[in-house]
């Protein structure tokens, strides 16, 4: 399965099919960007749901000759179809910040109407955002200049954007690293440039190694703010693992008043050197 089959996608699937009862299979696959296998998987799920009066939630007939599906929707389907606030918020936010969507609004009256309608419900200031998130990614490949957490050097990645989401560090672009063929996360704020292909320097990538860090816990309340981060805490000590030295350094500096590095000594010496260097500059 290529698609993330979750309740959100089922909603999207139902939102699409409920617009008309008759679909050619090919058209439906293109519209939903799924495979035939995924389509039938979803059909088995939704056709197994019944309304309180015992009626099928969604019933369907397939015509093998014409390769068409005829849907029979219960009244419940139209009540079921909904767009939650989070989804509408995402769209509204991007309509006000994404360059491509902004130009789409100028061309398309229904998108303009849609955006105006939502503006009545969302009190959102996004002026700061115009400079920090300019999502001018190409449909296919992009070369981005990225500064990793804890590092002061740019690295170039050839990527294909996959999704946008956020966590406590900020808005994250998930993208396929073309060279390594793995999905990686990039903090939007740390993408400092989207470059032409010729600037791409594969050699600038560095191999990273996991690093285990032992901290002295300076503020007991800090543990309650760690959220989903994996750690071990024993008698005033906190143990964490980071995917790179730079990542550990960034974390240690950002939590300077709550945690003090005990080991590895390379990391504690580095932080002390930075503090002394800054003191001398003042």
């Amino acid at each position: 399965m290529n698609k993330k089959l979750n309740i959100q996608f089922i909603q999207s699937f139902i939102k699409t099919i409920q617009t008309k009862p008759l679909w050619t299979i090919d058209k439906l696959l293109t519209e939903l960007e799924i495979t035939e296998k995924e389509l039938f998987y979803m059909l088995t799920i939704v056709s197994d749901v019944y309304t309180s009066s015992g009626e099928s939630f969604i019933d369907y007939d397939i015509n093998e000759n014409t390769k068409e599906i005829y849907f029979n929707f219960s009244e419940n389907v139209y009540k079921f179809v909904s767009i939650n606030d989070g989804e509408l918020f995402n769209i509204y936010f991007l309509l006000s910040t994404d360059t491509k969507l902004k130009s789409l609004q100028a061309e398309n009256k229904s998108i303009r109407k849609f955006s105006n309608l939502l503006s009545k419900y969302f009190t959102l200031e996004s002026t700061d955002h115009a400079e920090s998130l300019d999502l001018t990614f190409d449909d296919q490949l992009n070369v981005i200049e990225y500064i990793k957490l804890g590092s002061t050097h740019s690295i170039f990645y050839k990527i294909k954007p996959v999704s946008l989401k956020s966590n406590s560090d900020g808005i994250i672009l998930e993208a396929l690293d073309i060279d390594e063929n793995v999905i990686k996360s990039f903090l939007i704020d740390r993408i400092v440039n989207i470059n032409d292909d010729f600037k791409y320097q594969e050699s600038s990538k560095i191999q990273t190694n996991n690093i285990k860090v032992e901290f002295d816990l300076l503020d007991q309340n800090f543990l309650s703010k760690l959220g989903s981060r994996i750690y071990k805490s024993v008698e005033g000590k906190v143990y964490m693992e980071f995917y790179s030295y730079e990542n550990a350094l960034d974390y240690a500096i950002k939590n300077l008043l709550n945690l003090k590095v005990v080991s590895p000594s390379e990391l504690s010496v580095d932080i002390d050197k930075r503090k002394n260097g800054l003191m001398e500059m003042l």
Partner: protein
């Protein structure tokens, strides 16, 4: 996985067609729950509720002591439901436009801000209800005005008493919406950040590569006063701890041109 998705569809189907539905009705209506013991049903139902919540569907029990009509109802679609009820729009066209916009994006958009929190803030802002939450270990009761995105983070602007404050959404916990509507007015004026009102500012001019400033500027709250020369930044801030973090991370790559209160930084470094 298939059963979990099927049960989620069944639950949504059930609650979207009933104003309020009791726990017993839910158990009787969904085949996977029907044969479970009460305890096993509770566990399974809680798991399913939490899964739905992670996608922005808030299945909540209404426990109004004055009301007769108690049970579970579906929240999290405040805006869509209001548009359906109050706006003169063809809802099918609205959904088609939504699908068209989603399709024209190059990216799949997952969650730019926590769905549950955004939903509660929207509900409270639009219906002018009070919000209660724990913020950095302290309980707050506020009148929400809206949200703002600033340097990579989301903020709630809200009146606490008579003072307009900004709360970083990431630090908001146990958020609850009050029952009473129309308790206050909202303003269309731009929100002033709490730190913009303070007097203890530090001015610093540094020379740093532009890309490094861009990548790290969200570490601390500040105003960029001047950036006429490409790699020279004149910054005004009261977030001294944040500035120290910024300077330590960028160490070796910047020079201080001028600073008016170096002692504020020294204090943090000596802590």
């Amino acid at each position: 996985m298939k059963n979990v998705i099927k049960r989620s569809v069944q639950l949504l189907n059930l609650v979207s067609n009933n104003k309020k539905i009791s726990t017993i009705e839910i158990k009787d209506s969904i085949s996977d729950y029907r044969d479970l013991s009460d305890q096993a049903f509770r566990r399974s139902f809680e798991r399913d509720k939490s899964l739905l919540r992670s996608f922005g569907y808030l299945l909540e029990y209404e426990n109004d002591k004055w009301g007769f009509d108690q049970g579970y109802s579906l929240g999290g679609s405040y805006v869509f439901n209001k548009i359906k009820e109050k706006e003169n729009v063809d809802i099918k066209e609205f959904i088609s436009t939504y699908l068209l916009i989603k399709k024209s994006l190059n990216l799949e958009i997952e969650e730019l801000v926590n769905s549950e929190i955004i939903s509660k803030i929207l509900l409270a802002t639009n219906e002018k209800k009070r919000l209660g939450f724990t913020y950095l270990s302290k309980y707050r009761k506020v009148k929400p005005q809206g949200i703002r995105f600033h340097d990579g983070a989301w903020y709630l602007a809200a009146f606490e008493g008579q003072v307009l404050k900004t709360f970083k959404i990431e630090y908001i916990n146990e958020l609850k919406v009050g029952n009473k509507e129309n308790l206050f007015n909202t303003t269309d004026e731009p929100f002033t950040f709490s730190w913009e009102d303070t007097n203890s500012f530090l001015n610093i001019s540094i020379s740093i590569p532009n890309s490094l400033y861009i990548a790290n500027k969200s570490i601390f709250s500040h105003n960029l006063m001047d950036n006429k020369k490409n790699d020279e930044f004149h910054i005004r801030t009261s977030d001294i701890y944040g500035l120290v973090k910024f300077l330590l991370i960028c160490e070796g790559s910047f020079k201080i041109i001028s600073i008016d209160k170096p002692d504020l930084i020294k204090e943090v470094l000596n802590e």
